[in-house]
Symmetry: C3
Subunit: 139 residues, 3 copies
């Protein structure tokens, strides 16, 4: 049994989806990982990890707009407002999506559908330093 850990740092610049699919494919190849589980955990509660469509970028715009309407940045709605109007909505969005993903690696490739990409979904407006922990367990 082989295990491998890595901390990926992504410096975000506002609400956006940040594609890290290519990084994952390369990390698996570089470490010669063949078959196993790749567990990803983001170390924050105001950004998410999601799998979404990688074809039409409008999907990402619609997703961001939708979540902003669903969870308004309106301080009058929340008690926890000290960290800015986008902070409590960011925590809520993180609970409505995911903070971790468990992927499968088969024959050296991460298993993803043709139209699937891996994204860090940033919910904060200001630049943030985000860490995604990689943990591989397999052979």
């Amino acid at each position: 049994m082989k295990q491998k850990f890595f901390d990926l740092e992504i410096n975000t610049k506002g609400q956006k989806l940040y594609d890290f699919t290519t990084h994952i494919i390369n990390w698996i190849k570089k470490n010669n990982l063949k078959n196993g589980i790749l567990n990803l955990n983001i170390q924050h509660t105001s950004a998410s990890l999601i799998v979404q469509e990688n074809a039409d970028p409008d999907v990402q715009t619609d997703l961001i707009n939708y979540f902003n309407k669903l969870v308004p940045m309106d301080n009058s709605l929340y008690i926890h407002t000290a960290e800015g109007k986008d902070d409590m909505p960011a925590h809520i969005k993180s609970s409505l999506t995911n903070n971790q993903l468990t992927l499968s690696v088969k024959n050296g490739d991460v298993i993803l559908g043709t139209w699937q990409g891996l994204y860090l979904f940033e919910h904060r407006l200001e630049p943030q330093r985000r860490i995604i922990i990689h943990h591989y367990i397999g052979d």
Copy 2:
């Protein structure tokens, strides 16, 4: 350490929850899997994998109705409309739920509560061919 992969194909016919619990129980038995992790990934971003109540079918109807109200099929709300009024809402619903589930297998049985079933939650209106990747790692 033992690993086993399988691609389950489900042909969906519209918005509905498709129960695949019995398939999972049988697949574990057939492959003589004892203790380990079963990672399930759906290869699409317009359908979900969820664990829900398996007792009263009204729960499923309420769930579908709720999600349709929460994420309206109204083209005026979205930019990405080329694939039909149900496509962008399907992407959003997929991010609001899950595209993967990590289950535990103990003594040859998948660990689920008494009232829990495994479902493919189809968000598209037209028939779709859906693939759920199974990946077992254990002994």
Copy 3:
């Protein structure tokens, strides 16, 4: 390869977030687990497992309030009402969040960000007996 199972019982008393982070840290230490995957599954479909901020308790209050507004306890909105006005909303909230979490253990510690805690998110109003299955696989 080492595997370890445990059933954690939490008796909830109404809608609240129940922090079980310290229990997890202690369980890993007590069992001398070093590097591996810890898969957590809640055996119910009306409560969730989430990772949220552990600093300001107002975040939890805002989260509960938000979910109550998003999924109203109003019997006129649902068909499945026999188990009380809070039951169908609890099923919906469980699908909007998560019923399982897959954590990574490194050098005997669960990997969590500085401000992250592990919570059982109870959606029912009356006291409930909840079971969270622990499954560790690693070395």
